[in-house]
């Protein structure tokens, strides 16, 4: 409780609106949000440092595990960087296969987002429908790569699995089904009244703010920033394919929905083009284990926005530095702006609308005490006291409760 009846509501680290641990502290006056702050880092796993201690090939699989949803994005960005430093040109067929998987991943990610968005505004029927349809593309990915997520299809110098004629037919068939369903969702999203009421005018991020806060991907494109790495800086086979960059000027959550739905349609057309144009030939070339010294900035348009990898090599088998900038890190900074003066009820959908992926965002380090070199066992009591202390610093006071509990526990 604060002055004027302001209440600080902790959203996270564990909260039904968030699918991953992140902490938003929201100050409420009645139902209105007067202030908000973000604390990231709960998913920090030490991947960047771990990459420096492993070979490039090991790194590919490690980097793939930066994120479960856009795993292909990260591994492609990384192998592209390594191939560029090594000066290797990969076979055309490999490029097409990478593009195919990338677009299927985009389809699965956007359908997933649509379902999550539905759930955040209490429209569970939409969630169930989209996730049912998402299974179609998940099955497809499992057939093509062997995995539903973390496909493991990229390797330095090409891809690890070929696409057979039969698989191509299956892809086309599945895409037809998905396109039909997606058109239905577009119809739904543009006509259903309660959906429009909850999406329009919510989470506004003006064009200027989007630029200064560095919004990328669908979040940026919904604020009129028509930037798409696939178009601006083509990689894989995108240079030879024909597609539109979807951008709208709505600047709100509704705009972000429209952009993603539009991109789904574009992705279907891209998959069809890839299947039609895919050339024959080898799928991989040999790359030496030792990569010459150099530095490269690799960019990739992940479903959530531009994914940036910076790789520096030093002539050995291990990279000198790998830096991953996931799209959510660029987008999450605009959330506070979007929440300004909105209602608490808008909070879940506004956060969800940037399609946050916090495991991408946080990357490093194992949690151990490095000075004593031992992994200390943390007892429950320590965690509890730490939690109370932490919340107190954030302005949520549990002192009275703490006292009562201490008496009970004889501390």
């Amino acid at each position: 409780m604060h002055k004027y009846g302001d209440v600080i509501v902790p959203i996270g680290p564990q909260h039904p609106a968030l699918k991953e641990p992140e902490s938003f502290l929201i100050t409420l006056r009645g139902e209105k949000i007067t202030a908000s702050s973000v604390r990231l880092g709960y998913n920090h796993r030490g991947i960047e440092k771990a990459c420096e201690e492993r070979t490039y090939t090991q790194g590919v699989y490690l980097i793939e595990r930066v994120c479960g949803i856009c795993s292909h994005s990260h591994s492609t960005a990384f192998v592209q960087a390594v191939e560029e430093i090594a000066g290797v040109e990969i076979p055309a067929r490999a490029k097409y296969i990478r593009t195919l998987i990338a677009e299927l991943e985009r389809i699965h990610s956007h359908l997933l987002w649509l379902g999550v968005a539905g759930h955040e505004i209490g429209f569970d029927t939409l969630l169930m429908y989209t996730w049912r349809d998402r299974e179609v593309v998940m099955d497809l990915l499992a057939k093509l790569t062997g995995n539903r997520v973390n496909y493991g299809i990229n390797t330095i110098g090409g891809v690890r699995r070929d696409v057979s004629v039969k698989q191509k037919e299956e892809v086309l068939k599945a895409i037809d089904t998905l396109e039909k369903q997606t058109k239905y969702y577009i119809d739904l999203a543009t006509k259903e009244t309660t959906l429009l009421k909850r999406l329009q005018g919510v989470g506004v991020l003006s064009h200027e703010d989007a630029i200064s806060l560095g919004a990328v991907g669908p979040t940026g494109r919904a604020s009129g920033i028509a930037r798409d790495t696939r178009k601006d800086d083509p990689y894989a086979a995108y240079g030879e394919l024909d597609f539109k960059v979807i951008s709208v000027d709505n600047c709100d959550v509704y705009g972000r929905t429209l952009v993603r739905l539009g991109e789904l349609i574009e992705s279907f057309s891209l998959v069809r083009q890839v299947i039609a144009k895919i050339p024959d030939g080898p799928i991989t070339v040999r790359v030496p284990r030792k990569i010459p010294a150099g530095e490269v900035l690799s960019r990739y348009e992940a479903p959530r926005g531009e994914d940036v990898h910076y790789v520096r090599s030093n002539g050995t088998e291990k990279p000198d530095r790998v830096k991953v900038r996931a799209p959510t890190l660029a987008n999450v900074q605009s959330v506070s702006k979007m929440l300004e003066d909105r209602y608490l009820a808008d909070m879940p959908i506004v956060i969800a609308a940037i399609d946050p992926c916090f495991s991408c965002t946080d990357r490093l380090i194992a949690l151990r005490d490095t000075q004593t070199k031992k992994s200390n066992t943390v007892i429950w009591e320590t965690i509890r006291l730490k939690g109370i202390e932490w919340y107190k610093q954030q302005g949520v006071d549990f002192t009275a409760l703490n006292k009562k509990l201490s008496k009970k526990l004889h501390l």
Partner: protein, 313 residues
Amino acid sequence: MLKALFQILIFPGVLFLFVFGLCGEFIDRKLCARFQNRIGPPWFQPLADFIKLVSKEEIIPEEADIKVFKLMPVLALTASSVSILYIPTLAERSAFSFNGDVIVVLYLLTLPTFTYFLGGWYSRGVYSMIGAVRSLTQLFAYEVPLFLVILASALLADTWSLSGMVAFYSRHLGYWFCNIIGFGVALICFLGKLEKVPFDIPEAETEIVAGSFTEYNGRLLALIRTSFNIEMIVGASLLAAVFLPFGLNLWPALIFPFYLLQVLFIIVIITFLRLLFARLRLDQMISFCWRFLAPLAFLQVILNLIFKAVLPR
């Protein structure tokens, strides 16, 4: 005395309502699942959930006011179960019918919402308090149109007793169609009363976890869930009595099955409605209720006054 005790505890009181409530919950969940392309729960799932909750450890927050926290679910259950005694189920006349019982039923049905507010408020959790305030705010939005349309129906039937209304509409079938707007309004208000989508604002999961009930668990949560089920049955019975052609002048033996059918019909409609929409925001919900439902309810009242003057008795 014994008869009254039977009526309160067995039929149409607590036990009947409990079983029927579980059936209602099952139908709601199964239908919902089938419409969403899911398989849905087996028939005993609501009962299994109830038993699981009852057998669980009870945790009460330190900050909470223990008395209020424990009392409120019981009060909610009592209030919602007692009101069935004034609603006709087995025959055209209810167990404790008197002229004016419709007001008592409405009052008893409002009580649970207050208990949810008090229970949530005295849990002292942030989410509970926000949920509590929301459920009370929402109450003021849907209650007025709901009362108005029931008033309209009572005006037309010229009686303040539910049994009297049932008798009237059974004899004058044509009059039932006069209340059609009222029935629609009442259904929507009923969604708000049951805190279901699009009006599940007080327990919006993605915003405030479970609203007033965030801190509840074990037996007390089981009580709350049961009282919600009973509220659903009692509310549906009330709507059936007021707005549906209840007895149809049928054989007395057929009245009870027909009553069950009507209640289930209303539950199915509620399930349909909650599948079709996204959750509204509190401000949107209130403006919807006052801008659309309240005028419609007034229209129904005026129409019924005219009908009463014009139509033959």
